[in-house]
Symmetry: C5
Subunit: 90 residues, 5 copies
């Protein structure tokens, strides 16, 4: 899993029928300290995440598992809304 900050959402009328009702969010991957790192992506979200939330997401086939429907063409999904990140800086 990686961490990302939710920054927006996408709207699509023409889409694969299995995506009907699936919320699609724009997310910016971040480091443990919240710094943006890497390319934005679109996450399927079953957890009611909102803009500004820090989330953990999975990619690949596990993205579909996050939706409990493993035959959906989804490759990235939110699996947890993060309360806190605890890192010991040496």
């Amino acid at each position: 899993m990686r961490l990302a900050r939710i920054t927006g959402r996408v709207v699509a009328t023409i889409k694969h029928e299995a995506l009907t009702g699936v919320k699609l969010l724009i997310a910016q991957p971040v480091d443990h300290d919240g710094k943006a790192k890497g390319k934005q992506l679109v996450l399927a979200d079953p957890l009611q995440s909102g803009e500004g939330d820090l989330v953990a997401y999975v990619t690949g086939r596990e993205g579909a598992l996050a939706l409990d429907t493993s035959f959906t063409p989804v490759d990235a999904g939110v699996v947890a809304i993060i309360d806190s990140v605890n890192v010991e800086n040496k």
Copy 2:
């Protein structure tokens, strides 16, 4: 999923037989604001996307799921044509 702009298409006579009739498009991954980011790729397209369209695509095994035929050797496919991207800039 990631966002991409459709920029062209490829034509191939010699191909895996499971690709017969599958439309193959050239796409440039983009950020939420439309800026190109990352390497171009070839997407299978079941949604009749056209050049210039902004699409969401999936990669890996889910690329084949986009075609509803999971045993096709396709690893990237269009799953939605995007109407709008809403991002709150802080």
Copy 3:
């Protein structure tokens, strides 16, 4: 597999139900000589790794196999705590 140093952990109240009881650690990928290389990630950990440990982790579907529950939406997991790395420098 790749090598990583465990640097912290994340706490999440709202999460996919299959993640209940799964320990989630922050890890920094490292080279064989311990130098940080690449983006941090969140690893599921069934081996009781602690902060500072050098571990080997797997990604993708194998991340879930590390937990012995292949239908969990986990895409990266610890599979070994490393005792030593032996590299012959030429």
Copy 4:
């Protein structure tokens, strides 16, 4: 899928038995205009591609599907020999 130019081949006597008879080619990923982009890789080739050919290839589990034997340890394979790439430059 991505585009690549075939640049050579590899010869291996000691290999996984499922690779017996599988042609292994060296390929350089390229952009739609033929410019090299990214790391070379080794592709399994069921299509009789030759050096200099522009091909489309798939990676991951789909690489094995390209060979019609999905339990072969192959993660990248040629699926089409490209006749032409049509891109509208704006």
Copy 5:
């Protein structure tokens, strides 16, 4: 598949039980001309590769297939020891 040079090995006492008896090697990905390119990784090796050998390896689920036990949490494995790489330089 990609090419890599074997540079060492790792020793781990605490590990996933399915890794018992699996040899784990440190490898440096290389280009066709032997130049290092990209991050080191840990490969499962069923072929008795030795330090200095040039090998072809697969990643993802195919890494486990290389071991003939597809439910092992392994995501990268050696599939061939390379005798020669033939590239025509234009």
